[in-house]
Amino acid sequence: MSSPRIDVSIEHRDAPGPPGKRHPNTCPKCDSHYRDDELDANLWVCPHCGHHFPMNARARIASLADPDSFAEEATEVRSEDPLHFFDLRPYAERLAEAELKTGLGEAMVIGHARVDSTACELAVMDFAFMGGSMGSAVGEKFSRACDTAAERRIPLVSVAASGGARMQEGILALMQLPKTVAAVEDLKDAGGSLISVLTHPTTGGVLASFASLGDVVIAEPNALMSFAGPRVVQQTTREKLPDDFGLSESNFRFGHLDAVLSRHELRPYLARLLRLFSSDGD
């Protein structure tokens, strides 16, 4: 018998974690099972119980942008391996595998688009690419999205989904926190605005940098957003965690969010907000 496969991926430590060998299209809440096209037609929300399945960056963009309005930017930006990092497998190999799996060059896709006819810049993360971890390439892409938004005088909408900083890039991954924050500050100084959408999960370095700095911060229901993941908190404090630890609803209650919105409400809400931000111009 082959030995059980050990999950060594750092990125998934705070992931939705389907218990056992659950099929990704099986709802973890109500056990309903769907085909891809059924979920796709309902924005990857369980039609039965409303559970929000993870949504990849392309599907997210399609769900927000007007048809054919999205023009991707900085497609050429790729991660490098400055530390020649090797844990159980080389980082370079993990990168190649992530690109094959997701069809994306990095864990973030940026570009400009129209949402219900209002122009904006989008920066959308994809959790399937190494757990949406932020390394130099993600930091650079976000930073460029800020600049484009400032130049075009359009708001920036970021959609976060991330396990945090990408450990394989060491200290340079940590430096993406100050980097993305500095980019947001430059955008705000230029009169721009950031609307931050947090999706499951948004943790660690991404929550502790640009994702928390939106002029408006909103989240999807039942999404985990915490600086430290539940496992780390549990092990450190040995406290019993509240059932809603770090979830959107708890964050909303404690005043960290402007709204918790289901995926179906997101586009109309953003459209309204973007119109408000763009009323004198565009």
């Binding site: 790729r78 990092f85 060491g170 200290i171 340079l172 450190t236 404690f254």
Partner: protein, 310 residues
């Protein structure tokens, strides 16, 4: 392979050498310092060297923020409380006189004995600590006091209350405020620079690091537990992500290494303070003549240029 940083150092060195040492001791000291750093860049750091830094950075007798405050500042007045919820003892903030001028100081503080350590929460701040830091930074900004931050934390505290009170947001906003300050900002990592809880206080014009300090995205134990599924592999993890000062310098993350007394900062607190004081003074003197807008622009550009990508 010559890195950009090494080239920059060599260039600066060449420039300094061409100046007749009219500037006296300060200039020659800088020349010496650059030469030393260059020499060390040329040497390969071994995995053992890196682990030694990890151990020294956490040495129980290593000087902490208040040890430096006591030795470097006159008329120290410490602030308490975040004006909302609590006073976080893991963060120390206040005003004092450094070289005759008023400066604001913010730093993490660890405890010396077990009681003190618990009181300081082992240097791991809650959001309240970052809010205390921020109100001190704002005050410095309004009164044109240079800001010095001393970084020494294993990381921001991972607790239920810390999360409920907005740990991620507090760290993000502390970064953001530092990017907005009009005053000269100098940071030095004096022990452990652990993750976002450390960089939240280090978005500075000049980032320094003591010779045996470490600065990293995660603790070696945390990295080992996640990547190797075994916290015992910490040494291996540290060797892989290289949190030592030399590698940080090489990657452009820090601007200079502050020397420590022979054997490490713990062996002679007075000498460690003198060396740190010299480095802070030099950095502030360099920054003070710049126009506030220019300083801020350069500070942001410095951080926005960090990263390696294709």
């Amino acid at each position: 392979m010559a890195t950009d940083h090494e080239l920059r150092l060599r260039e600066r060195l060449a420039r300094l050498r061409s100046v007749n040492l009219l500037g006296g001791a300060r200039l020659s000291a800088e020349l010496e310092k650059l030469e030393r750093q260059l020499a060390r860049l040329a040497e390969e750091t071994t995995d053992e060297d890196i682990w030694r830094s990890v151990e020294l950075a956490r040495h129980q007798d290593r000087p902490y923020t208040l040890d430096y405050v006591e030795r470097l500042l006159d008329d120290w007045v410490e602030f308490h409380g975040d004006r909302g919820r609590a006073d976080d003892h893991a963060v120390v903030a206040g005003l004092g006189r450094f070289d005759g001028r008023t400066v604001a100081v913010v730093g993490q503080q660890k405890g010396r004995d077990i009681k003190d350590r618990i009181d300081r929460n082992f240097g791991s701040a809650h959001p309240e600590g970052y809010r205390k830091a921020m109100r001190t930074m704002e005050l410095a900004h309004r009164h044109d006091f240079p800001l010095i931050t001393l970084v020494d934390t294993p990381g921001a505290y991972p607790g239920v209350a810390a999360e409920q009170h907005g740990q991620g947001g507090a760290i993000a906003r502390s970064h953001a405020l530092m990017a907005r300050l009009d005053v000269p900002v100098v940071s030095c990592v004096i022990g452990e620079g652990g993750s976002g809880g450390a960089s939240a206080l280090a978005l500075a014009d000049r980032v320094l690091m003591q010779e045996n300090a470490i600065y990293s995205v995660i603790s070696p134990e945390g990295c080992a537990a996640i990547l190797w599924r075994d916290a015992g592999e910490a040494k291996k993890a540290a060797a892989a992500f290289k949190p030592d000062a030399l590698h940080c310098l090489e990657l452009g993350v820090i601007d200079a290494i502050v020397a420590e007394p022979e054997g490490g900062a713990h062996s002679d607190h007075d000498e460690a303070a003198r060396l740190l004081g010299d480095a802070l003074r030099e950095a502030i003197d360099e920054l003070q003549p710049l126009a506030p807008d220019d300083r801020k622009r350069r500070r942001r550009a410095r951080f926005r240029s960090l990263g390696v990508y294709a």
